[in-house]
């Protein structure tokens, strides 16, 4: 009897291992952080883009309307692609557009806005990229929809038609 237990154990162990690894083969091994919504916005100090005046983040997101925070840079190619959506959203009156200029050169960023128009009501600087980390972002572009100091939607990567309508739907 004892002799039989061992091969059975071996086969089942092998099957379990085979199954686990076979399943694992199909998993994507690129990790994207979980998109947690309803989290409070961070608090930080920064400078305004044009005037270079110091501002605190709670002053920026003080109101009760919707805020669309967009992390962008002039060197970021997908930012150009999503620009038309931002221009369109900036026409909506109940959304305040906030730009976070990520690790950028001031002149390049200014030219970017002159060339493609400025959709933002306010832009602040993030020269060393640490404010992006406060938001839980790790690249450009990323977009956050904020209401009452809470992040209600987080978008990693450029906006597209589907996301654009989703934002419109959420801010109705």
């Amino acid at each position: 009897m004892k002799i039989k237990i061992f091969p059975i154990f071996l086969i089942t162990a092998f099957l379990i291992i085979f199954f686990v690894f076979y399943k694992g083969l199909q998993n994507s091994n690129i990790y994207t952080p979980e998109i947690k919504s309803e989290i409070k916005i961070p608090n930080f100090q920064t400078k305004e883009f044009f005037s270079k005046e110091k501002i605190n983040s709670d002053k920026i997101f003080m109101g009760s309307e919707y805020y669309l925070l967009n992390i962008w840079a002039s060197w970021c190619v997908p930012c150009k692609e999503e620009h038309k959506y931002l221009m369109n959203l900036s026409k909506k009156e109940n959304i305040k557009m906030i730009g976070q200029n990520y690790k950028d050169n001031f002149d390049n960023a200014k030219n970017f806005l002159i060339d493609l128009n400025n959709p933002y009501d306010l832009i602040f600087l993030d020269n060393d990229g640490t404010i992006a980390i406060e938001w839980g972002a790790y690249g450009v572009p990323e977009t956050f929809l904020i209401k009452n100091n809470q992040i209600i939607k987080k978008i990693i990567g450029p906006l597209n038609d589907k996301l654009f309508f989703e934002i419109k739907e959420l801010t109705k």
């Binding site: 990790y31 979980e34 990229g129 790790y138």
Partner: protein, 119 residues
């Protein structure tokens, strides 16, 4: 007497070199335990991506503010999830990972014990 003098000088030498580099060492230790999200598979310490460079600055800033190693990990975990740490902490998602080696040790021990007793 000579031996005592020798040990005292060695002690001081070690102390000096440690006290100087402690803060830097901690920063390196922390960034080595952080996974870079842009170039996945590399640690933040090894990576030179924009994200990793910002994270190095941030870790430095947080250490200056007086945060402990654990507080920095918690801070980053709340933003990017457990995945950012190379050394996962004990939780309900990782208990299997942590306990499996111990379990295997006991199972193996039991098998050896039984075989030994049989002989």
């Amino acid at each position: 007497m000579k031996i005592i003098k020798f040990f005292i000088s060695v002690f001081f030498l070690i102390n000096f070199s440690f006290s100087d580099s402690n803060a830097k060492n901690l920063e390196i230790e922390i960034t080595k335990n952080l996974r870079c999200l842009i170039c996945q598979g590399q640690s933040v310490y090894d990576s030179d991506s924009e994200f990793a460079n910002s994270l190095k600055i941030l870790v430095n800033k947080k250490l200056d503010e007086g945060l402990s190693e654990k507080q920095i990990y918690d801070y980053l975990k709340s933003r990017y999830g457990e995945w950012i740490l190379y050394d996962p902490q004990f939780s309900k998602n990782t208990y299997f990972l942590w306990l499996l080696p111990i379990l295997m040790f006991f199972v193996g021990g039991a098998i050896i014990f039984r075989l030994y007793n049989k002989n």
